[in-house]
Amino acid sequence: MMRYIRLHKIFIKQDLKKLMEYKVDFLLGAVGFLLEQAAQILCLGIIFAGIPALCYTVDGVVVDSWGFNEVLFIYGFSLIPKGIDHLFFDNLWGLGYWIVDKGDFDKYLTRPINSWFYVLCEKFCVDALGEIIIGIVLIIYSTLSMPAQVADAINWWRVLPVLAVMPFAILIFTSIKTATAAISFWTKRSGHITHMCYMTNEFAKYPTKIYNTFIKTAITFVLPFALTAYYPAIYILRGESVWSLPVTVLVSLALFGISQLIWYRGISSYESAGS
């Protein structure tokens, strides 16, 4: 384990050196990412400029509602586990898009280290720092600008258990990427499957109650991104959904197990490419 941590540090260092070699590429990536996030936040702002709050109604009666600041808080929070996964484990995308297809996976199998770990930590995606920083800024901004009765409901001690569960939230992202990327061992390419599954995390940035049962179940248990965003965020804000914390641990471990199973099964079906 210690050896792997040391190796990870070395890989990150190498990748940072590489970054210094391609400064323009890095800058363009960072600017592009900022623009993308700005557009999304602008979109939220426009929607909320037209409505006072996001409401969940049953038979026309408002059961629950979320103000702009709360939605912004959830949105900001969602970027943190997502950003951390993105920062450290971005290379999995490459697996489904070209690494397996071109036979480049050979390299990972001829080294005396765990192949999954090697793929995972080979790339250090600095762009993701932007994601994390924006997340933190949104959390701070939304908290500061909250109406008094919303802000009063926050108990900052609740941050501690959420932080403790954070690694498992990150594991949800990593496991879903791993499982879908590993499909490429059979199909040669699976980048689009990964993309499709990954993008459902967009749903998780909003209160799950606004969705129908199907989507709600899907983003809570199947592709459980709600456990990485809405549930922990609303727990901090209002103390709701305490159950989601242990569930996050269990679901993430189950997903991790499944993803590893697919990974190792996949490796034995890996066909390389002609040379």
């Binding site: 050896r3 040391r6 190796l7 070395i10 890989f11 190498q14 050196k17 590489k18 070699e21 391609y22 036979g103 480049d104 050979d106 390299k107 199998l109 001829t110 080294r111 005396p112 280290i113 765990n114 192949s115 490796i267 034995s268 079906s269 890996y270 066909e271 390389s272 002609g274 040379s275």
Partner: protein
């Protein structure tokens, strides 16, 4: 070789691929989408051989023969469909991580170096991956430096290296952890004569000084001649020859290729090698495109001298040359030879 300890053991190794059969065109692709049909392709079909410690063995065969598939199974990249391979008692499918510590791999067409970084950085990372102690690393680097002359470009980014430098760098990278077995898949592909020669010398020296067992695949007969005593030849997934190079040469290497260009293409009619020399079917083949004629013949039956003087006495040529049979030619001959090859293969086990 005084030390007859077996390093590599391959027994009845097989690999089958499932290949989707598609009819041509977009329509065919659609059909295959809804009603996929598969063919089983036997890429490697029951291969067995053993390699003693310290030996350099040439692994040859035409493109698509299954060489790379065998190498990829031996390096733990592909999982065999059945059969076993083991290096120094270790089996790749059982404990890949332990197994690959014992081997070094160079794929000529693909680099394992960190593309965007200075070459030295690659070696630093490999040192950590293989957990090489500092003093062993220094000693090894010094040795590899001396043999492969890395000093000139060790601080350059890998992407700026020439192909020859990159190949030397790649070989050094595969040997840093002092593996027991080195796999070289076409190490001289695309290199110029001088660089090829340097690389061959380096491989030889490394094998001698470190006692490394080397498995080499190549299409260059010279690689084989200069490096390997023994060759294993495979085709269509089966072993067709396993023995000393001299044996192969003696049995199949007497073929020569006589190539010339006629001043007047119609003169071709005047040549009747088969009739005038009474060649057997196996010993002669003639290809002709326009004025260019390509005659392959067995120089045991008719000497090169006789063939030349016969040709020159019958026709006027613009250009003429004689070549040794290349590997492809020997393989082609082996096929014509048929049955006896199996016997040779078995007798060597």
């Amino acid at each position: 070789m005084e030390n007859k300890e077996i390093m590599i053991k391959v027994k009845d190794l097989r690999k089958e691929f499932r290949k989707a059969v598609k009819e041509p065109g977009l329509k065919g692709s659609f059909k295959a989408l809804f009603n996929p049909k598969y063919d089983i392709v036997k890429a490697v079909d029951g291969i067995s051989f053993e390699v003693p410690k310290g030996e350099i063995i040439g692994f040859i065969g035409p493109n698509g023969a299954g060489k790379s598939t065998v190498i990829k199974m031996l390096t733990g990249i592909l999982t065999p469909t059945s059969g076993e391979c083991c290096i120094d008692g270790k089996i790749p499918t059982e404990n890949r991580k332990e197994y690959v510590k014992e081997i070094g791999v160079v794929f000529g067409q693909r680099t394992q170096l960190w593309w965007d970084l200075a070459l030295r950085e690659t070696y630093m990372v490999l040192k950590e991956i293989y957990e090489i102690p500092e003093d062993a690393y220094k000693e090894r680097m010094a040795f590899l430096n001396e043999v492969l002359e890395l000093d000139d470009f060790i601080t350059s980014p890998v992407r700026t290296l020439s192909l020859g430098q990159r190949m030397r760098a790649d070989i050094a990278a595969s040997l840093l952890h002092n593996p027991k077995v080195l796999f070289l898949d076409e190490p001289t592909i695309g290199l110029d004569v001088v660089v090829k020669d340097n690389i061959r010398k380096a491989i030889k020296k490394i094998s001698e000084e470190s006692g490394t067992t080397v498995i080499l695949t190549t299409h260059d007969l010279e690689d084989i001649e200069l490096l390997c005593k023994r060759i294993v030849m495979i085709d269509k997934g089966k072993k067709v020859f396993d023995g000393e190079l001299s044996e192969l040469r003696r049995r199949y290497g007497q073929m020569r290729e006589l190539k010339f260009e006629l001043k007047n293409p119609d003169d071709f009619e005047k040549l009747s090698y088969k009739k005038d020399f009474s060649f057997a079917d196996d010993d002669l083949s003639i290809d002709r495109t326009g004025g260019t004629v390509n005659v392959r013949f067995n120089s045991d039956v008719v000497t090169v001298e006789k063939m030349l003087s016969y040709t020159l006495s019958k026709v006027h040529v613009k250009d003429i040359n004689v070549k040794d049979a290349d590997i492809e030619e020997i393989i082609r001959r082996l096929y014509l030879g048929g049955g006896e090859t199996d016997e040779t293969a078995d007798s060597h086990l």
